[in-house]
């Protein structure tokens, strides 16, 4: 779901680049030295995991990982997302230079929302067991794809109305094509967070019993 260059108009490029810059500044603010290896290695894992193609019907998808990054890195998500996308654009031409801002926003926004929602649920003591945590993480993973693809569609619509014209418009196809990705991402995030909780519970900064911990 990375937008390549040539699609956005100059106003959209300016606004999304500024928004991504703001998110990056917010993420870097107060970042401690000992967090650098954690964020870096999570970025490398995110970059590598995004290269895995998983078959769905006649096509294949790669994990979106927005929700998962939010749950694992919280407010530092923008650093991991921006670095991962920069590496993907530079070395794999996945995404682009002028769209790097938008692609960062598309992935960081769901990550931050997922992290915030999970924290709220934990504070209200709605997550009490490992199963709850895995299931809610799965829902947040699915929600992150919905949020990301909706932002993508909205920006396409604002950039040029031609992308929304007709029954088989680019936006309609985009939304339809992501339905299996939403379902897949939900299952995937459930499995990944369940696995991390089972093997290294300490790696999840947001979990029941540690609700007061701030990121």
């Amino acid at each position: 779901m990375h937008l390549s260059d040539g699609i956005l108009n100059i106003q959209t490029v300016a606004v999304t680049s500024a928004a991504a810059g703001g998110m990056l500044i917010y993420a870097l603010k107060g970042m401690k030295e000992d967090e650098i290896p954690k964020v870096s290695l999570a970025t490398a894992a995110f970059f590598t995991a995004a290269l895995i193609s998983i078959p769905i019907g006649p096509s294949s998808v790669h994990p979106f990982l927005g929700g998962m990054i939010g749950i694992l890195l919280g407010r530092r998500s923008a650093v991991a997302v921006f670095t991962g996308l920069l590496l993907q654009a530079l070395f794999f031409q996945s995404g682009g230079l002028t769209t790097l801002g938008l692609n960062t926003v598309i992935m960081t926004l769901p990550a931050l929302i997922s992290s915030c929602l999970l924290r709220k649920l934990l504070l209200r003591k709605l997550v009490r067991t490992d199963k709850h945590l895995a299931l809610i993480s799965g829902l947040l993973g699915a929600l992150s794809v919905i949020l990301g693809v909706s932002t993508f569609a909205l920006v396409l619509y604002l950039s040029n109305s031609i992308y929304s014209e007709g029954v088989l418009s680019a936006i309609h196809l985009l939304l339809l094509a992501h339905i299996p990705v939403i379902i897949f991402e939900g299952f995937m995030t459930t499995a990944v967070i369940g696995f991390i909780k089972k093997t290294r519970p300490g790696f999840l900064p947001l979990t029941y019993g540690t609700e007061q911990e701030t990121l």
Binding site: H172, F187, V192, I196
Partner: protein, 243 residues
């Protein structure tokens, strides 16, 4: 293309005017050009500029085959957007729609050429060293350097896991069991990464890490580097004139 090839086969080893162009000047020039191409609305002029950029890449003695391979990576995404834009208004497509699609494709192609120029005309360590001297936030640069280093390590681990899965007759597919396996593989990747992060931090501290990545001395920016950058920016001015 395999991830391992990124620092080997594809890299330009021949000394040409582009490989001698100072990395920071080259990066800034290419990024500025990419942004300057956004408002261009003339497909013919843009086509001419794409041909100009390709000619420049060829003067750097880069493999045309590799450049085409890079362009092919864009094909699925461009097709996904271009086909509905062309035909959602009926058949045959109107000239306005054809123009939009041409602009979309040509801008994407130009940026691929610029990215290729930025990344594949010098070894990665020189590229990263140049980025390290661009006055970006230290923490961001540290994250970029470390991530780049660990991508290869994780990719190797992932390939080993894949081999192990295949040896146990794992065939993937669309079922809950397969998805759970994929989830555990990705989860394992994150666990390994976070497991190693503490060791990496201790190793960094023992080597005198103070929150700033150490980079080699920056290349000197010469008059020739300025001339190359100005020349490239003039080429965009010519493009603006014709469009």
């Amino acid at each position: 293309m395999k991830i391992k090839e990124l620092d080997k086969g594809e890299r330009q080893e021949k000394i040409t005017w582009i490989s001698r162009w100072e990395v920071r000047m080259k990066l800034v020039t290419c990024i500025v050009i990419a942004f300057l191409l956004v408002p261009v609305k003339n497909p013919l002029a843009l086509g001419g500029y794409a041909a100009f950029l390709l000619a420049i890449l060829l003067t750097a003695r880069l493999s045309l085959h590799r450049v085409i391979q890079r362009l092919l990576l864009l094909l699925p995404f461009l097709t996904f957007l271009a086909v509905p834009v062309l035909f959602s208004g009926g058949f045959p497509p109107s000239p306005a729609r054809v123009e939009i699609v041409l602009l979309l494709v040509l801008k994407a192609v130009c940026t691929v050429f610029l990215l290729y120029m930025m990344v594949f005309t010098q070894p990665v360590h020189l590229l990263l060293n140049g980025i390290g001297h661009m006055n970006l936030p230290d923490k961001l640069v540290s994250v970029l350097f470390l991530s780049w280093r660990y991508v290869f390590l994780f990719w190797e681990k992932l390939c080993q896991t894949y081999k192990a899965l295949r040896s146990r007759l794992f065939q993937g597919g669309m079922n809950m069991r397969a998805y759970r396996t994929y989830g555990e593989v990705i989860g394992g990747l994150f666990v390994k990464s976070l497991d190693s992060s503490e060791r990496v931090y201790k190793a960094m501290l023992s080597r005198g890490y103070t929150g700033k990545s150490t980079v080699a001395a920056a290349q000197k920016i010469t008059l020739w580097d300025w001339l190359k950058s100005i020349g490239m920016l003039i080429s965009v001015a010519v493009l603006y004139f014709f469009s």
